[in-house]
Structures are given as C-alpha cells and as structure tokens.
C-alpha cells in the first residue's frame, strides 16, 4: 500500500461496508474497555470504604464540591445528547457538533476548577484518594474524547466547505458521507457511554 499508489487494475477493493462495520463494532468494544477501566476505581471505592483501615476512610472534613459536581454532570449529559442528535444528520450537524464539543471541553475545565476548590488533599483518606484518582483519569480520557469529537466536527466543517471537491478518503472504498456518518455514530455512541460512566461516578462520589 502506498499513499500515492492507485489500486492496480487486477486487484479488487475490499467490501465497502467493512470499514463502516469496524467503526460500529470498535466503538462498542471501547465501551467495554472503558467500563472495566473505571470498574477498578469503583472496586477501590467500595473496598476501601468497607475496610475503613484505621478509621481513615475520611480524615478530617472531606466533602466534595457538590455544585461543581452537579454542573459537570449536567454539562456532560447535554454534550452527549447533542452529539447523539448530531449523529442522526451528519452532514448538517455542524452547530450541534460544535456545541457538544464546547460543552465537553467545558466539563474538563469545570473539573480542573473543582480541584482547585477542594477542601481536602489527596492524602486525606481512602475517599480522597479515590476521588482524586477517579476524577483525574476521567478528565484525562474526557480530553481524549474531546479530541475525537473535534475530528468529527472538523470533518463536517471541511466537507461542508469543500463539498464534492473534497479529496476522497484513500484506501477506503466506502463513500465519504457514509464514513462521516459511521465515524460520528461511533464517536457519539462512545461519548454517550462515557458520560453514563461519569454519571455513575457522580452518584458514587457525591451521593452514596
């Protein structure tokens, strides 16, 4: 395979639906991997809480910032809903996609601000450790999702700007619009699932 090499005449392309299906399946498998990753933090939460070694589950006054917590979850859910809506009409989804992207980024910014207003440190017991670890890694992977969403939004924008003059995807027999739709569907599905994991984290860290 060479970037500039055309497919030789006697070589037939692969079925066009393969890449679309790969994106569909890939997004769902990523959901599984993400679930197991955060399951480790869920396990840590209940394990340390039930052990309560040296009565150190919470050392001193350890209360998470509820306002920020609620704000982050609301922003995340709104972003996921908008992106899911955008995936239904991929070629006309620029405004929805942009808003979803901005909200996703806002959720990370809010989380960073929340850390600066914490009334406790990472060493303030088991709860504090789980809170800091869980939210930090959630934010890191949320940033990765922000990148993914941005690539989808940028694709919509470029497709709208360049229209039919847009260079064809190399090596992918599927149609550009189909690919865009499949990519957006995969991205929005994973983002919705990831936000659902965030809601679970919020329930556990703030409500339980």
């Amino acid at each position: 395979m060479e970037a500039s090499a055309p497919l030789a005449d006697h070589i037939k392309p692969e079925p066009r639906e393969w890449q679309l299906r790969a994106l569909w399946v890939g997004a769902r498998m990523l959901c599984g991997a993400a679930a197991f990753f955060f399951m480790a933090f869920l396990f840590a939460y209940f394990y340390l809480r039930s052990l309560d070694v040296n009565k150190s589950w919470k050392i001193g006054t350890v209360n998470p910032p509820t306002g920020f917590g609620v704000g982050i979850v609301v922003v995340l859910v709104a972003s996921a809903v908008l992106l899911r809506m955008a995936s239904k009409r991929p070629t006309e989804a620029l405004p929805l996609g942009l808003t979803a992207l901005a909200l996703a980024l806002l959720s990370v910014v809010l989380q960073v601000i929340a850390w600066t207003t914490l009334g406790f440190g990472p060493a303030s017991g088991g709860y504090a450790s789980v809170y800091v670890g869980w939210t930090a890694w959630y934010a890191v992977f949320a940033l990765a999702c922000v990148y993914w969403i941005e690539t989808q939004v940028a694709s919509i924008w470029r497709m709208g700007r360049e229209g039919v003059k847009r260079p064809r995807a190399e090596g992918v027999p599927a149609d550009d619009v189909e690919l865009l739709g499949a990519g957006l569907e995969a991205c929005s599905l994973f983002w919705a699932f990831y936000v659902a994991l965030g809601v679970i984290a919020w329930v556990v860290l703030y409500l339980v």
Binding site: A40, V132, R158, E170
Partner: protein, 632 residues
C-alpha cells in the same frame, strides 16, 4: 485501500535517515525524557512521597520523563501526523507507506502492513525474550550457592522482578503480536487489520515499555517481583516507577492489540468464512483478545493508582492513610489470572491448528475446543482470589474461589481432549513443529495437574510462595506458550520469510530444550515441597545439590536457545534456501498463497466454501482463495 507500490527512485542513504523513522524516534524520545524530567524537577524537588523522601528522589520527574519520552518516541516515528490531519478535518485514510521496494527500511519505522508489523513484533519480542532469559541465567547463577553471593539481595530481587515482568509483560504478545497480526487477516480473507495504525502503535508502545523497564537498573531496581506487591512498591526506590511505567504501557498496548484483533475478526471475515469455519487458531485469538480487551484496563487502572500514590500522594495502597495493600492484590490479580490465559490460549490455538496438519485428519471436536476456549475466557474472570488464599481473605470466600478455579480445569480439559482426539489414529508426521506440539502436550499436562494443587486452599497454604508454585507456572507458561511459540516459528517462518529452516538443527533444538526444560523445572516441584521459598536469595544448604542440578540444566536451556539462534541466522541470512509455497501440504488459507505473500495479500477478497480442516476427506477440498499473482 490501495494495494501496490509505485516504484520510485530511492533517495540516498543519508536522506533516508532524516524523517520519521526509528533513529528520529530515539533522538526525540531521549529529548522528551530530558524535558519531562526537567519539568518534573520544577514541579516538585525532591518528592515528598510517603516512603521515598529520604532517598531524595523525585518520582514526578521520573514519570514525566517517561511520559514525554514515549510521546517524543512516537512523534519521531510519525504517529502524530495522521491525528493532526484528522484534527484539521481531512478525511480518514488507510493509505500509509508500505511499499515492498523500500526493503529493510520499512521495518524501522511506522508501517501498517500487517505482515511487516508481525515481523517487527517477532524481532522486538525476541530481543526482550533474550534479555528475560539472560536474567533467568543470572538468577540461577546466584542460586548455585546458598551462602556465597554473586549479587546482593536487592539486585537478586530486581533480577527476579525484571525476568518475571519481561516475560509476563512482553511475552503476552509473543504469539498475538507476530503470528496473529500476520495470520489473522490471511486466515479470514482480509487484506489488513481493521485499524492498521493501532496495530503498528501497539508494537512501538511495547518496545518503549521494554526500554523503560530496563531503565529500572539506573534507579535502584525494584524488589517486588513481577506482581509489584504493595506496600513494598510504595516503599521502593524510583526503580519501581520503571515497573509502573512499563506495565502501564504494556496494559495499554495489550488492550489495543486485543481491540484491533477482535474488531478485525468480527467485521472483516470474507464471504463464506462463517464462525463455524473459523480456523481454531483464530478462535484462540478471539478468546485471548476478549481477555486482553477487558482485563488489561484493570491493570492499567491499578498502575495509574500506584503512580498517583508515588506522585500526587494519594493513598490507594498506603494503609496509614486509608488505603490498603490488599486493594493492589485484588486489582492486580483481576488482571493477573486472565493474563495466565492470555498467555496460554494462543498456545492452545497453535497446537490445535497444527495437529490436523501433521495427523492428516480433521480436528477432533472443533466445537468442543471452541467451547473450551470460551469457557476458559469466561471463568478466568472469577478465579483471581485464589492468589490471595494466604493473604488473609475471608475464609468464607475460599470455597467459592477454590471451586471456580477447579472448574476452569474442565474447559481446559476440553481443549486437551480435542488435541488427544486429533492425535488418535492420525497419520502422525514427526516434523519439528509437531515435536514442539507434542512437547506442549506433555508439559502442559504436568502444568495443569500441578495447578489443581494450587487451586485447592489447604494444599495451596503449604505450597504457595514456594518453588512448587514457580515450577507449576513455568510448566504452563514456558512448557505451554514457549513450546507452541517455537512450533509456530518452525511452522510459519518459512512461509513468512520464504526460506527454509534447518530440520536437523530444529530437532536438536527441540530435544535439547525438551530434556533440559523438564530436567530444570521438574526438580523445582521437589524443591518447593522441601520448603524452598521464592524470591529469597538464600536457602538451606541441604537444598544445594538439587539447586546446582537445576542451574546446570538451566544453562542447557540457554545452549539450546543458542542452537535455535544459530539455525535462524544461518538459515535466513547466510544459507538461504527458498521454501516452496506449501511445505507442509496444509489446507489453511495462508498456505494457498504464493511465498512470500504479496504486499496486498489477495487480488480479490476470497470466498471460503469449505471447512478449515478437510484432511483425510476424499476428495480433499482446499478453501477457495484467489491469491495475488496466480495460484500457489
């Protein structure tokens, strides 16, 4: 996907050195490390982490150094180019430089041809396998005498830890990396993996991980063994940071490798390649990939917790501040036991794939074997607590985990039964690959049976932490994985490279390895029963004769490996003898293609119209495959 290269004039050698390749990657990797280390120094000097303050170390610097180093390394290889293009909205593309006329250069940079990535894995993992093996020789040298020491206790423990980590971390990909990447697309009728860049990424990430582990020797090593037990880990020097960085990257690499393989097999099977026609090796890959996809993230999460404990001063594993060292044990073994099957299942797949070829009869009990593999996959998530039998777990939990662990021997038995059923009344050809498969059967039998003793709580209490346990897992992993790994090498390497391997040297390799392996690890069962503890630099003098015997036999294993190395170098580099397209008269799709397999694999996507093992069935149909450039 375009398929063939346009031949262009080669640029001069000096020009080819500048660009996205391994050399640039190393330079940027080192620069990244230094920048990260410097930034870490500005953030916190020195670290005030719980136990390392007195050592004057800065764990933040070390971790940032590793992080930036890996990023620089990947940028140098060209991994940032495509993501940046996507960031700007350019369409997705599968086109990548994979031109066959670039010669050896494509093996030293980002290449998305699954066959090139497979060979990269083969060489890269071979290198780290050699280092892990060298560590084993040093360990055995130390154990020649209980009182006179070659290394100090800490150095000895670091050697043990590096050997275990290297083998368990790198060798998990020893079959999936080289063989699954090379074979799966060909076996299912695809030209590529579902996500070729991710395929290449997993390899280069693994290489970065291996280098990070080696750097532990500059930071005082780590004394925890490959299991990284806490609180020893938290108390360790910055050498433990290398362990954390290594395994975290391995975890990410394994997750993505499993993800990619699974996506490929689910979505890119050619017409006619139904689930019931899938070669059994591919089923082995499916079950392994499921475990990698789901278990490895737990390991990564646990290691990230450990990294946080050492840097931002959380207390996940620090009992004094609300954490628990048992939390680490739980999280580690939720990954760690599936890891054992991640290592074993591809070996099962290879053994069952090769047996029909050399018995000239269909695989006996294909569906039973598949059920066995999936059964092992499912059950392996419910057995981890047997590793904690002697760690003070609730006694009421023991029967459940004892039962679940013993249950897993049933699906494992299915697989073994299928192997024996295929051998039964077969027209057995004792080729080198077949010898290694038979060696696997013999070794794994002992490994499996001795495992029952360790799954049983009462007997585990006396054998856990002794050399008995070590003998058991070497029989399963080395006896299982390594023997099938060599079977795969002798079976597929001629196809992959186009050159023959010496049959005579192969047989010398097998017999010396088989005898030396059993002479080394068999006595370890006895040593374990006599109370020889693991991870202790000294032992009772009464055990010295047996230990000396084991050490001499371990050296014999090393000599056997040298025979293999000589065979590979001589056969593939100096005495090149071209191999025919189908030397084993196999019915498998990859052997219906010409040798070497063309860059684009197939002229058109093949149609499969036969079961995968039609041996001994008259007439003997082979799967319909349309190879590039004519028939084999």
């Amino acid at each position: 996907m375009s398929a063939i290269a346009v031949t262009t004039e080669k640029p001069p050698a000096w020009r080819r050195l500048i660009g996205f390749n391994l050399l640039t990657a190393i330079v940027l990797g080192i620069a990244g490390y230094l920048i990260g280390y410097w930034i870490g120094g500005r953030i916190n000097t020195p670290s005030t982490a719980f136990f390392s303050a007195e050592a004057g170390e800065n764990d933040i610097s070390v971790f940032l150094g590793y992080g930036f180093g890996v990023i620089g390394f990947l940028i140098g290889l060209g991994f940032a180019n495509y993501p940046v293009r996507r960031l700007l909205g350019y369409p997705p593309t599968l086109a990548e430089h994979e031109s066959a006329d670039e010669g050896l250069g494509r093996y030293f940079r980002l290449c998305t041809d699954h066959k090139v990535v497979a060979m990269q894995y083969m060489i890269g993992i071979g290198f780290f396998f050699a280092i892990g093996g060298l560590n084993a020789m040093l360990i055995r040298t130390e154990l020649l005498n209980p009182n006179s020491h070659v290394f100090g206790a800490n150095q000895y423990l670091t050697l043990v830890g590096m050997h275990g980590s290297m083998m368990m971390g790198m060798m998990t990909s020893s079959i999936l990396g080289p063989f699954a990447n090379w074979l799966v697309p060909l076996m299912i009728g695809s030209r590529r993996m579902a996500f070729p860049r991710i395929e290449a990424f997993t390899f280069w990430l693994l290489m970065a991980a291996g280098v990070i582990l080696i750097t532990t020797i500059f930071f005082g090593g780590f004394q925890t063994g490959w299991t990284g037990y806490q609180p020893l880990g938290s108390q360790g020097t910055a050498g433990y940071d290398a362990y954390v960085g290594f395994f975290a990257l391995v975890g990410v690499s394994m997750t993505l490798l499993g993800f990619n393989l699974l996506a490929t097999i689910i979505t890119m099977r050619a017409p006619g390649m139904t689930w019931t026609r899938l070669p059994i090796f591919v089923w082995g890959v499916v079950s392994t990939a499921i475990l990698m996809l789901l278990a490895s993230p737990m390991l990564a999460a646990a290691l990230f917790m450990g990294a946080f404990d050492r840097t931002v001063q959380t207390a996940f594993f620090v009992p004094g501040n609300g954490g628990s060292s048992f939390l680490w044990q739980n999280l580690f073994w939720v990954f760690g036991h599936p890891e054992v099957y991640i290592v074993a299942l591809p070996g099962f797949g290879i053994a069952l794939e090769l047996l029909p070829v050399f018995c000239r009869k269909p695989l006996w009990g294909y569906r039973i074997a598949v059920a066995g593999m999936l059964g092992v996959t499912l059950l392996s998530f419910f057995v981890w607590q047997h590793h904690l039998f002697v760690s003070g777990i609730n006694a009421d939990l023991r029967p459940f985990y004892m039962l679940s662990t013993e249950l897993i021997s049933i699906p494992t038995g299915f697989i073994f039964l299928c192997a024996m059923g295929t051998l039964w009344r077969g027209r057995i050809r004792l080729t080198v690959p077949m010898l290694f498969v038979l060696g696997w059967a013999f070794n794994f039998l002992f490994g499996g049976i001795s495992g029952v003793f360790l799954s049983d709580a009462p007997s585990d209490v006396t054998t856990h932490g002794t050399f008995f346990s070590m003998a058991h897992f070497h029989y399963t992993i080395m006896g299982g994985l390594v023997f099938t790994f060599f079977a795969a090498i002798y079976y597929w390497i001629p196809k992959m490279t186009g050159y023959k391997l010496s049959e005579v040297l192969g047989k010398v390799h097998f017999w010396t390895l088989f005898l030396a392996f059993n002479a080394t690890f068999g006595p370890l069962f006895a040593l374990g029963f006599m109370g020889m503890p693991r991870r202790v630099v000294t032992y009772p003098t009464s055990l010295q004769p047996l230990n000396d015997w084991v050490t001499v036999c371990a050296y014999a294993i090393a000599l056997s490996m040298l025979v293999f190395l000589y065979n590979v170098v001589a056969s593939l580099i100096f005495k090149r003898e071209p191999e025919v397209a189908n030397p084993w008269n196999s019915k498998s799709p990859e052997f219906q293609l010409p040798t070497p397999v063309p860059v684009h694999d197939f002229d058109r996507i093949p149609v499969f119209d036969a079961d995968p093992y039609p041996y001994g069935v008259e007439p003997t149909p082979a799967p319909t495959v349309a190879p590039a450039g004519g028939t084999a």
